[in-house]
Symmetry: C2
Subunit: 189 residues, 2 copies
């Protein structure tokens, strides 16, 4: 029997992504979000949603760029910290000892130690309500070379990204394969 839980931002799964940006003085900042997703295949685009109150909001509008660094489970504490404090008050890279690498493609930094990075140029932004949606064109995807299944195909189990369980507020690792896409469903054709 289904139970109604009301009008709220609750669905599974949601990601754990660390958004990199430069502030007006060129200091690198990074904040963690769970509101975002791929939003277009051509041009390849990634959307993230931010509150106006965040430091990152102004940074992205100014620099017209952002990166998304995907933390592995090894960096769960750092990713969590990036979502707890504001770049207005603290340099989060210094606090955690992680390295801000300057993207050569877009005007934003990424987290060097994280296994997967997506570099985006801002295309649009839409005010939805409390959150503003940023639409970024993906200029490049970078992955640590030893985490590939084969040429050009990252192994999600080796990248080991996090899933955020909203409401329960827990971070989870990725589990085993349960099926192959465009294959397991063919039995109904």
């Amino acid at each position: 029997m289904k139970k109604s839980l009301g009008a709220q931002t609750l669905i599974f799964p949601t990601p754990v992504w660390c958004v990199g940006s430069y502030d007006l003085e060129g200091a690198p900042n990074v904040m963690t979000i769970a509101w975002g997703g791929i939003c277009c295949s051509q041009p390849p685009c990634l959307t993230i949603s931010l509150r106006k109150a965040t430091y990152t909001y102004g940074n992205i509008l100014e620099r017209k760029a952002y990166t998304v660094s995907v933390p592995s489970t090894k960096y769960t504490a750092e990713a969590d910290y990036f979502g707890i404090v504001s770049g207005r008050e603290v340099n989060k890279f210094q606090a955690t000892g992680l390295t801000p690498s300057r993207s050569t493609l877009v005007d934003a930094p990424f987290v060097e130690e994280f296994p997967m990075v997506v570099e985006c140029k801002l295309l649009h932004h839409f005010e939805i309500g409390l959150h503003t949606q940023f639409i970024g064109e993906i200029i490049d995807v970078k992955v640590d070379g030893d985490l590939l299944l084969k040429e050009g195909i990252p192994d999600i189990l080796k990248v080991s990204p996090l899933v955020y369980a909203t409401k329960a507020q827990s971070y989870h690792q990725i589990g085993d394969v349960v099926g192959k896409a465009y294959t397991i469903g063919r039995k109904y054709k």
Copy 2:
């Protein structure tokens, strides 16, 4: 050493969501997507991206509503099938034997057997490129009552949603907890 994989829609994790809609004749349809995410907290909104060529695209514009049913790992084959064929050619509910339940809140059906359902009213749609972004206000979230951790909080391990690994094209289950949000990162404060 990071390897550049080029400009493409590749990031981890992405969801496996089944979008429910009615066509002009009132027949229920459902299609599987991986491009989407929560995009605003107030009003609570969920975005999904669809190609104009999909049957669901026209349905949502006409009915101004959609649902997202979250398949559990048990229904991996059905979810995969929903992404392989078009509602123009086949009634996917009949083909799989799953049940289209009529939402009492929005003009769209959901998959009765799936453990979690989000019902949305269309607020906006934005043409990004090949894909159009639909922004839906979440009117209700429904979860099977026996899958709650405690009052109002679904257990992600019991709901057992899928994660889609793009490029590798594999479906994965959710793994163990690796940390508590707003807690594990406090050590850096």
